[in-house]
């Protein structure tokens, strides 16, 4: 089975029903996407397939068609994406475990809607749980990233 992740091609030998999450984590050692629930209820495992957000814990690896982007492919500590920069600026993370998924969802939202309303943020982001309750700062960071991206 072939898989393209963050610009790199991989060859995989796994069962077709293996969720993308476990192929990324345990086969390819890409650990940014996190395991939280396994049933598409928390968003910790969110990645992009062709730019669209997907809960990788509930998406069979054999069903992937297109390129997978994980948080590692979005930006790195030395070259962060604007959304990641906004996350740092607003000091969003507490335990941080949900934040890969939050950032991937937020990025997908801003790709679709560069200037989301509060209601649109609520709706789009409510699939991502944060047990540390960082929601006020997630909201602030999304707004900051939105302005930054629009300024270009």
């Amino acid at each position: 089975m072939k898989l393209k992740v963050n610009g790199t091609d991989y060859e995989l030998e796994v069962q077709p029903d293996m969720p993308l999450l476990w192929a990324l984590r345990d086969e390819l050692n890409i650990k940014g996407p996190k395991f939280g629930c396994g049933i598409a209820m928390c968003g910790a495992c969110t990645v992009h397939i062709n730019g669209r957000p997907v809960r990788s814990c509930s998406f069979p690896v054999s069903a992937v068609s297109g390129e997978v982007t994980t948080i590692e492919g979005l930006g790195t500590p030395d070259a962060m994406h604007a959304v990641q920069e906004a996350w740092v600026e607003h000091q969003v993370a507490q335990c941080g475990y949900c934040q890969s998924g939050q950032i991937m969802s937020a990025t997908a939202l801003l790709n679709q809607k560069p200037d989301p309303t509060d209601a649109e943020i609520d709706q789009f982001m409510s699939g991502n749980l944060c047990r540390c309750g960082t929601y006020p700062r997630i909201r602030a960071a999304i707004k900051a990233a939105s302005s930054r991206l629009q300024e270009g």
Partner: protein, 746 residues
């Protein structure tokens, strides 16, 4: 105020054994430091001047020996050292460090004394000081009780100052000049002629110098880092997916495991059939451990699939098997036989209640799960008489003890690598999952094993926040409470947890009455009695412990009395509050929330004030009631931490605490049927989400006598403030959690 409260059990909370230990060893021994654990593994050219600082050619590392679970403790503790050491926070490394009794938590036991925490009299302070002795002998490196900052405030600054002094002496030796002619700046010693000697180059000379025991600390006016909002040391890693949690640890040749245990908590396994599972793809081995079975595979997913295919015959358990039966047992415990403490008994409550028009009500709070975002997991490798463990845990010294018991390997050869934690909330003060990883690794020597629990395993095998029942009688006179009689029945979390660790416990468990008996209110007739329900299912420390339920009970009752007295709920609290810093937080939240200003139709405001972990916190919540349900419009919080080290992080912790409390208050409930926990994942044990999460405005005050930690105190007032707001908006008084049993949330 120096009077110790009446205690109906034998001794203080920590128990006579621990106290006796302190007495037998004597004070001189207490003064002797533990060995510096960093000295054991130093390489050439490295120096460790205190257990908290390691310097080598590459750089400076500060050991922050408390669990980083999200509360920002690594940043704050590192800043305490960096402030005195005179280094830039961005230029140093920060590590959890090894498991060692040298990192014992001396603040942990102070709250267990039978004095109100607002009592700073000589007797109370003397007993608290004394508690540092058993704390040291127990040598517990434990994160909890919002103690990291109070425990580290002097200790960590002293470590930084001692290291700096030593480096100055090293430079003086090297340059053959007087120490007084030297100063430090940004990680280097600067000589009178302006030459710069980086600390890293002084390490080997400094290693031979005895650091001063009691170096002078900077006055607050000279602080560069403390008192300011600092960027978290972990924030870039946590925003780029590069922070390593135990679940991310990867070692060559690693195998991946998951487990199954009796869904009836603590029940036995009569037998199992793994014949189908054994043949499944990726399965390497199926092994038994103390109370269950582990599947080891080449991928966690294969392990989970195979575990699902095993048929089990689980044993029954002794505890009552349904929520209804459990509550019936709780009800039966309102009896002298089960009395645990009567820590407050002011005035003559019985007489006061005979004459008055009495409010007589019952409140309930359910069992709750911790549901940390990162499910329990650990990595273990047993090889050539050495055991390595990678785990996110709040109690590394206990991991060593249990590792030795399980494997027979001496503690010197057990290495605990503490990683970042995807949430703790008290759950990671347990080490059941670490023990399991060790047991599996024992059956696969030489192979690193990563054990990951499924969310289902995590939700159904927690140590739960105990359910509780509160019975209350109260009366009012002249617009104020005249009688307040609160009886609380719940399980003892101290008994349950310490039992799992075989640690000495005696005396009453004041967490049963925490944030009920010691609230700084003056009510002439005021009694709080705790009843201990005999142990049944395992219960544990859950963010803010007893205050999590008692805050709801106590502050709902105060609110009921305010309405009974036809008084404004906030004004009435101001009329009875007996502690100045507490009064100021209530005033601050009134100001912040424009308490009393007119509200739109259908809106209501509720207030709650809870004193917990030494921190007075007042919260106001505004709700809007409509056909869609109840919507939380906004939350205002005022809290007094004594000394605010990092204002932005304190704000984050209070917001986090509020959301944690709201999540539980709105919908959190663990129920049992046939002895099994019914909730299995986030679809039936949900949390607050973005669409319901309110803006939370925070004001931090510094009037308290001591510096305090703030990881927990934001949680206790949230449920009561919300229930009180719902009452204000709808007229419905809800006396049972979760609130969604009675109202719908929009």
């Amino acid at each position: 105020m120096g009077r110790a409260a009446k205690i109906t059990r034998r001794t203080l909370l920590v128990g006579s054994a621990a106290i006796a230990g302190g007495v037998i060893f004597g004070y001189w021994k207490y003064k002797q430091p533990y060995n510096n654990p960093l000295l054991a593994n130093l390489k050439d050219g490295e120096a460790s001047l205190t257990p908290y600082v390691r310097i080598d050619q590459q750089g400076i590392t500060i050991i922050t020996p408390r669990a980083e679970m999200g509360q920002g403790v690594h940043t704050t503790l590192a800043a305490l050292v960096a402030e005195e050491l005179d280094v830039d926070l961005a230029a140093i490394n920060v590590e959890h460090g090894p498991a060692s009794s040298a990192y014992f938590n001396s603040a942990l036991l102070e709250e267990g004394v039978p004095f109100k925490p607002t009592d700073h009299g000589r007797m109370a302070e003397g007993v608290r000081e004394f508690m540092r002795v058993p704390a040291k002998f127990l040598g517990l490196q434990l994160t909890g009780g919002s103690t990291s900052v109070p425990d580290g405030f002097v200790k960590m600054r002293t470590a930084g100052a001692a290291a700096r002094q030593t480096l100055l002496m090293a430079a003086a030796t090297k340059l053959n000049v007087e120490v007084a002619s030297l100063r430090t700046h940004d990680g280097a010693v600067i000589s009178a002629d302006g030459s710069v000697l980086p600390y890293t180059e002084l390490a080997s000379v400094a290693a031979d110098i005895e650091p001063p025991a009691e170096p002078e600390l900077k006055p607050r006016s000279e602080w560069r880092l403390l008192g300011k909002s600092l960027p978290r040391v972990d924030v870039v890693a946590k925003s780029t997916g590069t922070a390593e949690y135990a679940i991310d640890v990867e070692l060559p040749g690693m195998v991946y495991a998951t487990i199954r245990r009796n869904p009836r908590l603590g029940g036995s396994m009569n037998g199992y059939d793994a014949s189908a599972a054994e043949k499944m793809t990726g399965v390497k081995k199926i092994v038994e451990f103390t109370d269950g079975v582990a599947v080891v595979a080449t991928n966690t997913w294969y392990a989970i699939k195979a575990a699902d295919a095993i048929e089990f015959d689980w044993g029954k358990v002794e505890y009552p098997s349904s929520t209804a039966e459990i509550y019936a047992q709780f009800e039966a415990c309102f009896d002298d036989k089960y009395e645990d403490s009567q820590a407050r008994d002011d005035g003559d409550i019985e007489a006061a209640l005979i004459e008055a028009d009495v409010l007589d009500v019952e409140y309930r709070a359910p069992f709750l799960a911790h549901a940390t975002m990162e499910p329990m997991n650990a990595v273990a490798l047993l090889q050539d008489g050495r055991l390595d463990i990678w785990a996110g845990n709040q109690f590394p010294t206990q991991v060593k003890i249990d590792g030795e018991t399980l494997t027979g390997i001496e503690q010197d050869n057990i290495h605990v690598h503490t990683t970042y934690m995807g949430g703790g909330f008290g759950r990671r003060a347990e080490i059941d999952f670490v023990r399991q990883a060790i047991e599996i690794a024992q059956q696969m020597p030489g192979t690193p094993v990563k054990l990951t629990w499924t969310r289902e395993e995590d939700m159904t095998h927690d140590v739960y926040r105990p359910a509780a029942i509160a019975r209350f009688r109260g009366a009012v006179a002249d617009g104020k409470p005249s009688a307040f009689d609160l009886r609380l029945a719940t399980l003892s979390v101290v008994e349950s947890q310490m039992g799992r660790y075989d640690l000495p416990v005696g005396g009453p468990d004041l967490s049963i009455v925490q944030s009920a008996w010691e609230q700084p209110y003056a009510i002439p007739n005021y009694r709080v009695t705790g009843y201990r329900v005999p142990a049944m299912l395992p219960v544990g420390f859950w963010r803010s412990v007893g205050a999590s339920q008692n805050g709801f009970f106590h502050e709902s009752m105060i609110d009921e009395l305010a309405y009974a007295a036809e008084a404004d709920p906030l004004e009435m609290r101001l009329a009875i509050v007996s502690h100045e810093p507490s009064r100021k937080v209530i005033e601050a939240v009134a100001d912040l929330s424009s308490w009393g200003a007119p509200l739109p139709a259908g809106h209501g405001r509720g207030v709650a004030f809870v004193y917990s972990f030494g921190v007075p916190v007042a919260e106001v919540i505004e709700v809007a009631s409509s056909d869609a349900g109840i919507r939380i419009v906004k939350v205002w919080v005022a809290a007094d931490v004594g000394t605010a080290l990092d204002p932005r992080n304190i704000e984050a912790q209070l917001q986090s605490g509020v959301n944690f409390g709201l999540a539980a208050a709105m919908q959190g409930e663990i129920t049992l049927e046939d002895g099994k926990v019914q909730q299995t994942n986030f679809h039936n044990y949900d949390s607050i989400r973005m669409n319901q999460a309110p803006p939370i405005e925070v004001r931090v005050l510094e009037n308290g006598a001591k510096i305090r930690g703030v990881g927990e105190p934001g949680t206790p007032p949230a449920a009561a403030a919300l229930a009180n707001a719902i009452f204000a908006a709808t007229g419905e008084r809800i006396r049972e959690l979760p609130l969604n049993k009675h109202v719908r949330f929009a």
